[in-house]
Symmetry: none
Subunit: 215 residues, 2 copies
Amino acid sequence: MEWENQEMQHHHQQGEDYLQYQIQNEVCGKVMTDEQVEELRKQIVAYSAISEQLAELHKSMSAHHDFTGIRLGNLYCDPISASVGHKITARQRWTPTALQLQILENIYKQGTGTPSKQKIKEIASELEQHGPISETNVYNWFQNRRARSKRKLQSSTDSVNAETDVSTKEKKTKPVDPDFITNISQGVESFYFQADISRGYDSYNNLAEQFGLLG
Amino acid sequence: MEWENQEMQHHHQQGEDYLQYQIQNEVCGKVMTDEQVEELRKQIVAYSAISEQLAELHKSMSAHHDFTGIRLGNLYCDPISASVGHKITARQRWTPTALQLQILENIYKQGTGTPSKQKIKEIASELEQHGPISETNVYNWFQNRRARSKRKLQSSTDSVNAETDVSTKEKKTKPVDPDFITNISQGVESFYFQADISRGYDSYNNLAEQFGLLG
DNA sequence: GTTCTATGAATGAACG
DNA sequence: CGTTCATTCATAGAAC
């Protein structure tokens, strides 16, 4: 369909009220509904539980195997997804796994600029333990990471940033840093929002310790 | 926290969708700082990474097993589904107003193919007078506009390489979990999830699926 | 309220 | 490196 027409109408319909909504939303800052809070809570707990249980499973099943070789040729195929036979969209482009991302972020963070070829090789090797990856991927990742962090066309926290008028100038500068998901260990350590979650936190630490994620 | 308030009011509107929107927005008072968002993100990603890793281990070590029945302990957690259904991501996406759209279209048509950063700034400023918008929004808009108009041409010449995607239909909303999780509620006070944690999300979901948590 | 579609946004890769 | 392209994901609003 030709959105040109349709869209016009569509948006017009919303009119000022909608605009008002947007503005208000912007003004009141970051908020989330209780429903969202709920979801969040669930997610964290779920992770916690899953990690814990998986760790147990792992323990009970002595590690005799080497699992690093899970990959289908050079075609990326998320092992987990694949195993489920689900969402296997034979991706054409590399997608870092959470772990890989974490590692990359860590390196990036301490990193003093673009890794040398040598370093990239090392990193790539390291990351291969956690999934299919090539040196090029690593290289690109760093390039992109840097470029985007630099370009920070704002968007950090509020994608709907905008002030209707005057207040614009000062708000333009976004107070937040573009880096996210950096150094997990540090992050988790310093992040502690409450006792109830501590269980999850603790198990995280244990897990991390066990697998040397923090070291 | 003032959680209660919100919770209460959460259930009475049912008017137009928009009205609902407004109320919700108005009602939601939970705010979290950027740092909190950051930390939260980290934590979730950390869990995600750990889970992923563990799952991999487990999977490779038990290739000959049948995990259909694997239950993560006696923990009945179905929170995943909930998350899947509603998306925690509170990210609100920008929606151009009719005026903004028109202006954008004009600029686009004027052919100056690529707006360039500088221009984007100008455009953004211009459009701010007609509604909330950020440079990123403008940037994305042009990116998408170009990409899509291009793709359109492409598809028209070629037969419909239909990829009537099969995916996604499992995103069904699921009946949610037990109280177990609710206990934690007190803990999580205010969050806002604006950032994209879909990555962590995905692996999380995959994990859940793999272990049959989704039912 | 469920499904579908248009489209904002994220991001790996490529280009100059 | 900075910028742009291509592909994919997620979601708001429309359609049913």
